[in-house]
Amino acid sequence: MSRAVTVLATGPLTTVQDRGRPGQGALGIGRSGAADRGAAALANRLLGNDPGAALLEVTYGGLALRAEADLLVVTTGARCAGTAAHNAPVPLPAGRELRLGPPETGLRTYVGLHGGIEVEPVLGSRSTDLLSGLGPPVVSVGDVLPVGPAAEPMPGVDLAALPDPAGGEVTVRVSPGPRRDWFGDDAWAALTSQPWAVTAESNRVGLRLDGVPLRRAREGELPSEGMVRGALQVPPSGLPVLFLADAPVTGGYPVIGYVADADVDRCAQLRPGQPLRLRG
């Protein structure tokens, strides 16, 4: 049997992701890629994969796979019940199943396979962009996902001792964005002092935050302008959207601030209802 895994269950959402499609913003093509880039990179590192190898991004557990060959697997990110080892590569012999329960904390689990998942790339990447629809289709039951040859030697790391995603309030750093001046100091203070709640409308595009709305200091329309992940955009409701992996290339509402790039991965692990503080 060729190197592959068969998908038996997907949970709420499972997609194939890699490092995305950088450098194509001028064509209206967003970056996409793993929402928690650090966790995805760790999975590839532990397996000795190329850093650009594709893996599975599992949202709130529930994935079940069957190995169709002797494979090596690792999970990183949100630690799910039912995984033999987390942040540590383990063999998945032919015929054996991997079943992820719900995560203890965090939202997104990365399932990496030695050799990487080799579905057909689209515009240089195997990432599914849920906003633009580019990339492979969302993973569904019955899919047989090819796994690349295990050409690279294993790095010989047994386990990466890393903290799990936080379960309670999370604090990240924020700096003023390009349209900070569309808001008064009161709005900036409101942005950086209140605990924001992550709402259930959040997805790979962005976190929709709930709290006391931010008031603009000036009216008017903003011509659409480029932005990247981490942008805190304020639509007319006054409730900010924190953009994640599948952020649009451009947006027409003012961006009041940016979450520090190094902190955005932690935001991608927030669940609906979890409090988020933006420290100015």
Partner: protein, 202 residues
């Protein structure tokens, strides 16, 4: 040029007008700045996205301030001709708005050269700006929930072609059979910033 902060990996350059955007973008394509992994032009701005492992944002700011923008609309030197069937659902409304007959709209749309200024809204959706005086066409009051691929529309000072079926509020004047976004073509997006466009009556 105003340089505005955009987080720890990017910066936003704000310019006076669309021509200044085209000029700076053309210069940045000709001579890319070190450590800049993406350049995203828009109506009044150019976003520079950096690789923080290679370059620091303040160094990119200093570098972009030294860039000498290109003059005029030389673009990329590529020209795309798009045959259009001028039978759009909003052709009569646009004609009424301008006080001309539908043929007058067609003559105006085919009678000028266009340049793709930037992309947005969807992959491969190029915002085309006309030579000479800018146009002004209001968007539809109620956007359509479904616009077919290939639909040619007008909105504000721009004309564009829908790359795929999507919702949309542009005034539709016609349609083209040319696929402006095709994943199986070497360059998937036909209407890239700087490309010159000529609409012709099919």
């Amino acid at each position: 040029m105003r340089v505005l902060p955009s987080g720890s990996t990017a910066l936003l350059v704000e310019l006076d007008d669309l021509d200044a955007v085209l000029g700076l973008y053309a210069a940045l394509v000709d001579e890319p700045l070190d450590g800049v992994v993406d350049v995203v032009p828009a109506a009044r701005t150019v976003l520079l996205v950096t690789d923080p492992a290679v370059v620091a944002v303040p160094d990119v700011e200093a570098a972009v301030r030294r860039v000498r923008p290109r003059q005029g609309r030389a673009g990329t030197g590529e020209t795309v001709e798009l045959p259009v069937h001028y039978d759009g659902a909003d052709l009569a409304d646009v004609a009424a708005l301008w006080g001309v007959d539908p043929d007058g709209v067609v003559r105006r749309h085919t009678g000028t050269g266009w340049t793709v200024a930037f992309c947005g809204f969807a992959p491969g959706f190029g915002y085309c700006t006309p030579d000479g005086d800018p146009w002004d066409v209001p968007r539809r009051d109620t956007p359509r929930t479904k616009v077919p691929p290939g639909a040619v529309g007008l909105a504000g000072p721009f004309s564009g072609v829908y790359p795929r079926e999507s919702p949309g509020g542009w005034q539709l004047v016609g349609r083209t059979d040319v696929a402006v976004f095709d994943l199986h073509r070497d360059s998937a997006a036909l209407l890239r910033p700087g490309v010159r466009v000529r609409f012709v009556s099919a």
